[in-house]
């Protein structure tokens, strides 16, 4: 089963475009996705998953399961950085500040990993619950706060961005607002009200995701080439951390009674590491941390691992322990 899931995932056009992008980046092809196109696609994707999540919750009705999953997600985002922080200092041999910054990335989530996981589950006819979009949005920021607390000794010195700005950035960052806003719109208009816009947001979704993953492959490969200071220990952690966090996420999801695909998504979220929202906040609040390290791990190691191997693994795990 695990192998089946893995092969069918690797053969989907989405993942193949990711691999194509990675190949182009590694051989230093001059293939280049303009920055504005990448941002445009990510806005589209977030609006689409928010909207679709909202519509499916409108169909299914609000449930206590939703509230429980939300709590579980926030709890994971708050707690996962702590062991990661310890492992990064002991095993990874990085200093306190960088360990805190990296831990915040791993406690938070990657929207693209979530989307890819959901698409793979859909292709397997195992659709996860629509409310997981909201759970994901809620998981983006708690880890940031923990990361900053873990690094607090560093925060004392020197002039820095006022705290309020940091809070503001964490709570109102673009992806949270867009995800939750589109979710609310989907909830408000329902399936029928959204019908006129579905050709773009539903039919177009997987094709755009292909082009987006092409870009992500390029970016991950280039980042891997450009990253210095990325030791083998850190590369190892970039694989071990998501696997361990994925196990925790899947298990917690199963324990609190989520169905198999939804528990798998909780595992995927726990395993994924942020490379969009968190780096910007860290650059502002922990400028002493090296963004090359955290981005290098999250984007060049963990993201490709999750998209190709991790996601099928977490799905197989959820299927096995959930059955």
């Amino acid at each position: 089963m695990a192998i089946d899931v893995g092969i069918s995932a690797l053969l989907s056009p989405m993942i193949l475009f990711f691999i194509l992008g990675g190949f182009a980046g590694l051989v230093r092809s001059d293939l280049n996705v303009p920055d504005a196109m990448g941002k445009a696609m990510s806005i589209y994707l977030m609006a689409a998953i928010g909207l679709k999540g909202g519509i499916s919750v409108a169909e299914a009705g609000l449930s206590s399961q939703f509230a429980i999953a939300l709590l579980a997600g926030v709890g994971l985002s708050l707690l996962l950085p702590v062991p990661a922080f310890a492992a990064l200092q002991r095993v990874g041999a990085v200093d306190r500040t960088n360990a805190a910054a990296i831990a915040a990335h791993y406690g938070s989530v990657s929207v693209v990993t979530f989307v890819t996981g959901s698409e793979i589950l859909n292709a397997l006819s195992m659709p996860p619950a629509g409310y997981m979009v909201a759970v994901m949005a809620a998981m983006e920021t708690p880890a940031i706060i923990i990361g900053l607390l873990l690094a607090r000794s560093t925060l004392a010195s020197g002039p820095s961005i006022p705290k309020s700005a940091m809070w503001h950035e964490s709570l109102l960052n673009g992806s949270v607002v867009l995800l939750l806003g589109s979710f609310a719109i989907g909830l408000a208009v329902g399936k029928e009200g959204a019908a006129p816009v579905l050709p773009v947001f539903d039919a177009g979704f997987r094709g755009i995701l292909c082009l987006f993953l092409l870009d992500m492959g390029l970016i991950a490969a280039r980042r891997l080439r450009e990253t210095r200071n990325l030791t083998w220990r850190l590369i190892g952690l970039g694989i071990a951390l998501p696997v361990l966090q994925g196990v925790v996420g899947v298990s917690l999801g199963t324990v609190i009674g989520l169905d198999v695909p939804t528990a798998a998504v909780l595992g995927i979220l726990a395993a994924s590491a942020s490379y969009i929202a968190v780096p910007a906040v860290m650059r502002m609040s922990l400028p002493q941390a090296d963004p090359g390290l955290s981005l290098g791990m999250a984007l060049a190691v963990t993201f490709p691992f999750n998209v190709t191997i991790g996601i099928p693994l977490y799905i197989a795990m959820a299927t096995r322990i959930g059955a």
């Binding site: 700005a165 780096p279 963004p291 981005l295």
Partner: protein
């Protein structure tokens, strides 16, 4: 030149994009309220090569450019000095002539 040209300082700070508001704040503290932000495509330095094609804006940089009096410049540079290393800033100062000197 028949126009009333006066000399001012041109300050350029290469900075990560998320830090631009911090620079604007420090400039304000030094009495500088006018500045321009110029895009930068990429570069190389002690911390390696970078380009702005990253999906995360966190690595993209810009140039914070302001022209100000010697006095305000000194105040700003003094505030910036401790951040140069911790925040990875690069600072250039040069001479510039302006008309309507009272504005700067």
């Amino acid at each position: 030149m028949t126009l009333n040209v006066v000399q001012r300082r041109r300050i350029e700070v290469l900075v990560d994009r998320p830090l631009a508001p911090l620079l604007a704040e420090l400039a304000r503290n030094s009495g500088i309220t006018s500045y321009s932000l110029l895009p930068v495509l990429g570069g190389a330095g002690h911390n390696g090569v970078w380009t702005d094609e990253e999906i995360s804006g966190a690595q993209a940089k810009l140039i914070f450019l302001t022209v100000a009096s010697e006095e305000k410049t000194d105040r700003l540079v003094e505030q910036l000095a401790p951040l140069l290393d911790s925040h990875g800033l690069v600072l250039f100062l040069s001479a510039v002539d302006v008309v309507r000197g009272q504005r700067f």
